[in-house]
Symmetry: T
Subunit: 69 residues, 12 copies
Amino acid sequence: MTDHTYKKIELTGSSNVGMQEAIESAVTKASETIQNMRWFEVVETRGHIDNGKVAHWQVTIKVGFTLGV
Amino acid sequence: MTDHTYKKIELTGSSNVGMQEAIESAVTKASETIQNMRWFEVVETRGHIDNGKVAHWQVTIKVGFTLGV
Amino acid sequence: MTDHTYKKIELTGSSNVGMQEAIESAVTKASETIQNMRWFEVVETRGHIDNGKVAHWQVTIKVGFTLGV
Amino acid sequence: MTDHTYKKIELTGSSNVGMQEAIESAVTKASETIQNMRWFEVVETRGHIDNGKVAHWQVTIKVGFTLGV
Amino acid sequence: MTDHTYKKIELTGSSNVGMQEAIESAVTKASETIQNMRWFEVVETRGHIDNGKVAHWQVTIKVGFTLGV
Amino acid sequence: MTDHTYKKIELTGSSNVGMQEAIESAVTKASETIQNMRWFEVVETRGHIDNGKVAHWQVTIKVGFTLGV
Amino acid sequence: MTDHTYKKIELTGSSNVGMQEAIESAVTKASETIQNMRWFEVVETRGHIDNGKVAHWQVTIKVGFTLGV
Amino acid sequence: MTDHTYKKIELTGSSNVGMQEAIESAVTKASETIQNMRWFEVVETRGHIDNGKVAHWQVTIKVGFTLGV
Amino acid sequence: MTDHTYKKIELTGSSNVGMQEAIESAVTKASETIQNMRWFEVVETRGHIDNGKVAHWQVTIKVGFTLGV
Amino acid sequence: MTDHTYKKIELTGSSNVGMQEAIESAVTKASETIQNMRWFEVVETRGHIDNGKVAHWQVTIKVGFTLGV
Amino acid sequence: MTDHTYKKIELTGSSNVGMQEAIESAVTKASETIQNMRWFEVVETRGHIDNGKVAHWQVTIKVGFTLGV
Amino acid sequence: MTDHTYKKIELTGSSNVGMQEAIESAVTKASETIQNMRWFEVVETRGHIDNGKVAHWQVTIKVGFTLGV
């Protein structure tokens, strides 16, 4: 195992289905431009309420990826 | 956008199905008496274990709603 | 209600299905050796990303159980 | 066990006797208007000092009670 | 000094002028229905950005007031 | 002073008398099976409310003890 | 409302006038290269002291913006 | 009310009787050299265990006092 | 750059004008007895409410200064 | 990758040489009885001062290991 | 001193030698693409354990650099 | 063991060699004027970056010492 350097960025994904879908949505969006994503950490879970019901789930995550390999 | 004031209250919802159902249950219960709920933030996730299995999910959220509109 | 003492241990469960399955997996594994588990508290939610998708969910929980009953 | 919803409110009790009395004072005061209180959690402990001695203990707690049963 | 009990509620005030105005706006709004407010504590400061400029300041505070005097 | 290693475990003691009794109860219970306990740190103080009164104090502590001496 | 993904970056703005000016300065600087900024959250407020007076205000904020719209 | 400045210092008091006595011991000791102490805030509660029993309570507090009146 | 040692003290400044004035008031008061103050960090913002209005702003800061130069 | 469960325990290692040696000392001690240790996380760094010099470094870590493989 | 804006990014460096080497490794890697780095703050220290020994140190830092000078 | 009172002060030591040297430098500097220092706790680790390399390590510690013995 060589000495890698990782960068962590903070993303907020949203979904009207649920928490996991919000996380997966953010990871999928990030994969369009970032290679070598390795892990995520949930930072915060929130959501919008509309008309007395949960209308949107929003999950903020940190995503770590290998720098410059 | 006028200068709204929001109040945030803290609720714990429970469900024997899962985390999202616990959150939705708290929001539904609150909607019986509170108008104009706008968002929620997850504060804590816990649960009861019975007979070696998760028997109840309990999620504490803060709910924000517009004051006096 | 007599004066119980509880011990809390920290476990990380993992699952390629989702967050709840990771928690349930840890509780099930712990139930092989621990009697009288009573509750859990979620401490941290993370996961592995492989090929631009969430490949594994990892949830760290504290599990409380009654000591020496 | 049905799916209850709990509300948590934040109170600061005070006493010139001690910490427990400050907590009990807040719980007693709250019981005048709130039914079905179930648990409390200590948030912060402070106090006033007068003439080089502790003159008043102030303990902030969260109190959880069952909503609308 | 008798043994008062205080209740703390959480409010978010907003203003397009600044942080202090957001706090003062929340306090003024609360004063319409709450007597005996005694202090506030800033919990969080946020704001909306519109067209590359800060458009709205939002400050969340806890407000403490004397219960039932 | 040689280079000791300490292990810290997390316990929740309970008492219907008070906070100190809850801590002492947990330490006494732990002393049945653990040798060489050296210190404790209070992590959280909670309690049950029954009939508008504090019925049970619950204090969670970490207990440190010397490993394998 | 479609399922947006937001990215949050951390900036420190500075000003010799005050806290709000430090925040506004960071937002203005960021607007030169970032489109679609939506909100900010204050993380930390500091400053330099020179000759017994506050000489510079430094406020660290997180700025959220819509990814790839 | 004029514009006072307060200084806060951090003290750890100890007692073999209990938590309150540890706090009061620290306040009494501080009163030998500090005038105008106004309030305290509990920061941390710990203790020594000797022979399977709590032998010493140690409470760390912050003490606020008026500067230079 | 030689190896300086800094000391950090905690002060609470107050003002009936605003948050910045409370900070500046604390720094000015401290400058009467402390040389070589270098920076401050905001720890907490609170205030008194009187008659339904903010009457006093109180900001707690840590102030760092060079030791013994 | 199958669905592992990990347990995390909290250890404090000490050394009169330095921080890394305190961590390595705790890991070595734990390896006498625990198989399959996988990672550690630093929780707290402290030390004893004797005669105006650092005499002992104490680092508290959490150690994660695979349960029951 | 003009009104600079700084950006802070989060990096995880790793090393099989030690904590400082992990930090220095992350800073060196970042210097390949980032100009004007000014400071770092340690966020988290972890490591891998292999065969009962620390095999890799991983330190997460935030790095601040001047924007667009 | 009599009932000692300890005071804790906050210091930031710096060194161009490393983290431990920064801590030791702060302890040595403090020993010039403070008797009976007993322990330290690391609060924060930072540093300056110059020309793409770590140029200075800065570690903030709390130092506890016995009051008035």
